[in-house]
Each structure stands twice: as structure tokens, then as C-alpha cells.
């Protein structure tokens, strides 16, 4: 899939290199979603996050979502970069970028990819607080 770039990495994600990869003379609109680690959740101060992934399946599920985006919208390139390991407040766990001739497809595919990623890709996030830690969404 030369028009798809899926990366799961313990290294810092780099927005400019994602933008460079996604831009092309054929595209008219690019939508980029950047997740960032917030300093608080439900009013509680977050110290850092820890991301764990079931790596081969996470990559295959991310590639599946990209293929679904190509099936549903006239998009040109799709990029998904996701971090693993420990992230401090302000760091970037995820970057999604989509280019298309027209912006509607870029916006809709980008939204679809992040929404679906959060539902199906086997990656888990633990929030670390001053007084404890919790696996997000694990319990009702």
C-alpha cells in the first residue's frame, strides 16, 4: 500500500515529517488530527500516560482501517502514526493525516480513522495520577 503509512513506535512522533509525506501536487486538501496528552482527566491531574500495544495486531488493524477509508472516500494518501511507551503531558500519542483532491473526503476519512482506531486497535493507555493509576476504559 504505497499510499498508506502506518507506524507504531516508541519514538517521539514528528508532525512535520507526517505533513511532508502526505502532501502531493494532486491533493487540494489535507486534514490532520493530532492527539495530545492532556494535563487532566475528569478534573484529576494526570502526571503521564503509558501506552501498551499488541503490536502485530495493532498494525494490522490500523492498516485495515486505512483500507476501509480508501473504500469509503476518494482519498489519496492516508497516514497513521501511534506511540507506545511513556508519554508526558503535551506529548503526541497519535497523528492521523489524510490527503484528498477535495476537503470533504479528507475531513470525513480522518474522523473515521481516529474514531475507529479508538474502538478497534489493540492499544491500551494507563493514566498515572499522583495517588494511583488506572487502565482507561477497562471497567464499567
Amino acid at each position: 500500500m504505497q499510499h498508506t503509512q502506518v507506524i507504531l513506535t516508541a519514538d517521539t512522533l514528528d508532525v512535520p515529517s507526517c505533513i511532508n509525506w502526505i502532501m502531493s501536487p494532486q491533493s487540494g486538501g489535507i486534514d490532520v488530527f493530532i492527539g495530545t496528552v492532556r494535563n487532566a482527566t475528569k478534573g484529576k491531574s494526570v502526571l503521564r500516560l503509558e501506552f501498551e500495544a499488541y503490536e502485530p495486531m495493532a498494525i494490522s488493524e490500523m492498516e485495515k482501517i486505512c483500507r476501509q477509508a480508501f473504500d469509503q472516500w476518494p482519498v489519496q494518501k492516508v497516514l497513521v502514526h501511534h506511540r507506545t511507551g511513556t508519554l508526558q503531558v503535551g506529548e503526541i500519542p497519535v497523528i492521523i493525516a489524510v490527503s484528498a483532491a477535495h476537503r470533504a473526503a479528507a475531513f470525513e476519512a480522518c474522523r473515521y480513522i481516529i474514531d475507529t482506531l479508538k474502538q478497534t486497535v489493540p492499544i491500551w493507555k494507563k493514566e498515572i495520577f499522583e495517588d494511583g493509576e488506572v487502565w482507561v476504559a477497562a471497567h464499567p
Binding site: 492527539g35 501506552f51 501498551e52 500495544a53 499488541y54 502485530p56 495486531m57 495493532a58 494490522s60 501511534h82 500519542p93 497519535v94 481516529i114 482506531l117 479508538k118 474502538q119 478497534t120 486497535v121 489493540p122 492499544i123 491500551w124 493507555k125 494507563k126 487502565w135 482507561v136 476504559a137 477497562a138 471497567h139 464499567p140
Partner: protein, 80 residues
């Protein structure tokens, strides 16, 4: 047959390990596996939900498990 089950996130903490081994009958299904795991690790039932993956794909309760399948317990995901 003996199968290995990978665990991630909160499931790893419930199992106390990232890998547990189980003895299953040859025609065992995902449903049978979940029942056995929940007997052994009752805290699994307190999760919001959990899925089982076989060879990197989500499996259905009726799917049969084969020897050497890579089995993983997938608690509620929270990436992004």
C-alpha cells in the same frame, strides 16, 4: 491441547503475567476458553468487556481454536 494466551493492559495485571498456558480439548471454542479463564481469573468478569483475538484477528464466541493459534485477550482498547 496446550495453548498459550497473551494478555495486555489490565488483563496482564489480572493474570499476573503477559502469558498464561491452558489445557483445552481439541474442539474448544472461544466461548469455552473464556469460560475457563473466567473460572480461573474471576476478575475478568469485572471488565467492561473483553475480546479474544486469534492470529491477530478478533474472534467470535463460536470460533474453534486450533493448536499453535496465537491467542490474545483484548480488554477494552483505549489508544489514540
Amino acid at each position: 491441547m496446550k495453548i498459550n494466551v497473551l494478555a495486555f493492559g489490565v488483563a496482564k495485571e489480572i493474570f499476573g503475567s503477559s502469558l498464561v498456558s491452558l489445557e483445552l480439548t481439541n474442539d474448544a471454542t472461544i466461548y469455552n476458553l473464556k469460560y475457563l479463564l473466567e473460572q480461573q481469573y474471576p476478575r475478568l468478569k469485572q471488565l467492561a468487556s473483553y475480546m479474544v483475538a486469534v492470529n491477530n484477528e478478533y474472534a467470535l464466541p463460536g470460533d474453534t481454536i486450533h493448536e499453535r493459534d496465537e491467542i490474545a485477550i483484548i480488554p477494552p482498547v483505549s489508544g489514540g
